[in-house]
């Protein structure tokens, strides 16, 4: 039983890490209806910038600010050069454009910082903590606390601020939002910058876990089942989805894996999400679509 709880808690905490990636996706989809495949590459670019600058002898805070500034610049450039010319195009074109963006980001960040694996030490001890006989990683706890803080901040931002309200208006109807005088372009730039900031935090946490390397951009694939499970438009969904995926993936790997031959963590979340979708086609917390002829 203690072993099961340990697996479960480990899975839940890993799930929070997935949620972090998923958050970036949700932010952008919610505000602009763009399915941003480049989120993984943004995580990579942010983490590489940070690790590269620290390697050059910058202090942690300076590197953090510089990486943040890079991500904001990237957001502004994306809005100006990619999104604005593609307004009103079908969603699939925008999706393909973000795949193109992924190539650009991956290429640029590797060309600038090289393709060596860099370690990243945030000064968080990765020693296990024992609570009632269950071992919990301290690092995972810090990561979840960070994710929790981010979610609360984003929720407040969306609900309480003027920009947040404008964001929700844009998400609801581009044209109506424009006609009441909401600056669409500025809103998009803000959202992409916010997603860039989330990517930076994600990149730091994942980077200190796995090392800053090319594989970081693949974690986007881990986040996809999370967002379809939780719903593309729900921040809470990203968290709950992450927890479900993380926990069930670990439990399945430990208990089901030996029976059918291991290595199932690649597809299990997808099949799980698919089963959830059959019952709720818009994810757990996604907005219901109403279709009219």
């Amino acid at each position: 039983m203690a072993f099961f709880v340990e697996v479960l808690v480990g899975g839940l905490l890993a799930g929070v890490m997935y949620s972090l990636v998923a958050l970036g996706f949700v932010l952008i989809f919610k505000a602009s209806g763009v399915f941003n495949f480049a989120q993984g590459a943004m995580v990579l670019a942010a983490a590489m910038t940070y690790a590269g600058l620290v390697d050059k002898g910058w202090s942690g805070w300076m590197a953090f600010l510089a990486a943040l500034a890079t991500m904001v610049l990237f957001a502004l450039a994306t809005e100006r050069l990619v999104l604005r010319p593609l307004v009103n195009q079908p969603q699939i074109s925008l999706f393909m454009a973000t795949i193109g963006l992924t190539f650009v980001l991956e290429g640029v960040s590797q060309a600038v910082w090289g393709s060596v694996v860099r370690g990243l030490d945030l000064g968080i001890p990765d020693t296990p903590l024992e609570v009632k006989g269950v071992l919990i990683s301290k690092f995972d706890l810090v990561a979840s606390a960070t994710a929790g803080t981010l979610v609360v901040l984003l929720a407040l931002f969306f609900q309480k601020t003027r920009v947040g309200r404008a964001l929700r208006a844009v998400a609801d109807d581009h044209q109506a939002a424009l006609s009441v005088g909401i600056p669409l372009e500025r809103i998009w730039a803000v959202v992409w910058a916010a997603a860039g900031a989330v990517a930076l935090v994600t990149g730091l946490l994942w980077g200190s876990r796995l090392g800053v390397q090319f594989a970081l951009s693949q974690i986007a694939l881990k986040a996809l089942p999370v967002i379809i499970l939780g719903g593309f438009t729900s921040i809470a969904g990203a968290i709950v989805g992450g927890l479900i995926v993380g926990a069930s993936e670990k439990v399945a790997e430990v208990y089901l894996g030996p029976i059918i031959g291991g290595g199932i963590e690649n597809w299990f979340p997808y099949v799980l999400a698919l089963l959830f979708l059959l019952v709720r086609p818009d994810g757990l917390f996604g907005e219901k679509r109403i279709e009219r002829v």
């Binding site: 050069l81 593609l86 393909m96 393709s115 593309f232 597809w267 002829v293």
Partner: protein, 355 residues
């Protein structure tokens, strides 16, 4: 002047419904096919045949399959490579376990098996739409990949992981030289392209398009959604399956799951988008572009850069250019090459007169 349809009257129903109603189009197509079947095998070098033309044609076939699903029926899929993989492994296992089976029948059967798998993964499309469906098709991608790697039966318990495809023999003639392999691929692809073109003009094709434009409305006017979406998945997976079998047998000569990873799915999706959604021709133009452009970039960079460069830097710069070009192309011509071709034809109709 040359591209003018004045004076070409369609006096019968059959003449009105032919695929190329304009005589110049028919002539052009005949010339193109003649060049592809007769001139190319004589003129092209072995490298061009084996490393360029064969994979281009095979991927064009897969792009055609995806185009049926995404371009005609409007169902978004990221699992194309998985269905290719199913086709490749099915063809290998049929040849392995039933050695008397003729090669072409094997390919058809491989396509049918792939179509069956496609039907299973197409079932959720009834409930799930748009990007939810796209992500759900990734389940097919990862599951199939895992299945063929983990379950030894599919690869005949090969320990090395590299499985050699069987020799290709059709009616006693071994297909081994690059020219013969090219001709085999070209024939299969031409026939399937013709079928796809015709299919898009039948009742089935029209109902696909109705479902693509708005499925609720299509249902209201009496189009059976279930059957329409599933036939799209089935036919699309059939094409992808045959393409996968050809990839393994005629191009690589080996059967391996790694050849059909997510990157392959994206590559084919690029071909469809760049070529033009919902056109048969777009699949070919897109495939040619996506195959040739990286080679061109590679050549360009090696020609421009002299001296020592950090290893990997060139390939990273190529990646950047490729990504940027995709974005530029989407902005400049979101409807793809097929649309450019159409515009060119309209212009040609008037040329050289201003009106």
């Amino acid at each position: 002047m040359i591209y003018r349809e004045a004076g070409q009257f369609r006096t019968t129903y059959a003449a009105d419904t032919r695929i190329f109603p304009i005589a110049q189009d028919r002539l052009g197509m005949a010339l193109l096919l003649a060049a592809a079947f007769v001139a190319v095998p004589f003129l092209a070098s072995e490298y061009a045949l084996t490393a360029l033309l064969i994979p281009m044609l095979v991927l064009a076939l897969a792009a055609l399959g995806l185009n049926i699903l995404t371009g005609y029926a409007g169902q978004f899929s990221l699992g194309t490579a998985a269905f290719m993989s199913v086709g490749a492994f099915a063809a290998y296992n049929i040849q392995l376990r039933l050695p008397w089976m003729p090669l072409l029948v094997t390919f058809v059967l491989a396509g049918l098996i792939s179509a069956g798998v496609g039907l299973v993964f197409g079932l959720p499309s009834l409930r799930i739409k748009g990007f939810y469906l796209a992500v759900a098709t990734l389940a097919a991608q990862f599951f199939v990949d895992w299945l063929f790697t983990k379950v030894g039966w599919f690869s005949n318990y090969s320990s090395s992981g590299v499985i050699t495809a069987q020799r290709m023999v059709i009616a006693g003639v071994p297909i081994e030289t690059p020219e013969r392999r090219y001709l085999l691929v070209l024939s299969i692809v031409s026939v399937l392209a013709l079928i796809a073109k015709n299919l898009s003009r039948t009742r089935t094709g029209r109902s696909w398009m109705a479902v693509r434009d708005m499925d609720v409305a299509a249902e209201v006017i009496g189009i059976p959604i279930l059957r329409t979406k599933l036939t799209a998945f089935g036919v699309s997976s059939f094409y992808c399956g045959v393409s996968g079998a050809l990839w393994a047998f005629a191009y690589l000569g080996t059967v391996e799951p790694q050849a059909f990873d997510l990157q392959r799915s994206f590559q084919i999706l690029f071909m469809v988008i760049i070529g033009g959604l919902g056109t048969v021709m777009g699949a070919f133009l897109g495939a040619a572009f996506i195959m040739l452009f990286p080679l061109f970039l590679n050549w360009l960079f090696h020609a421009l850069v002299r001296g020592e460069v950090r290893p990997g830097l060139l390939s990273q710069l190529e990646l950047v250019c490729f990504g940027a070009l995709i974005i530029i192309f989407l902005i400049v011509e979101p409807l793809g090459f097929a649309r450019l071709w159409q515009i060119a034809k309209e212009k040609l109709r008037l040329w050289p007169f201003p009106h």
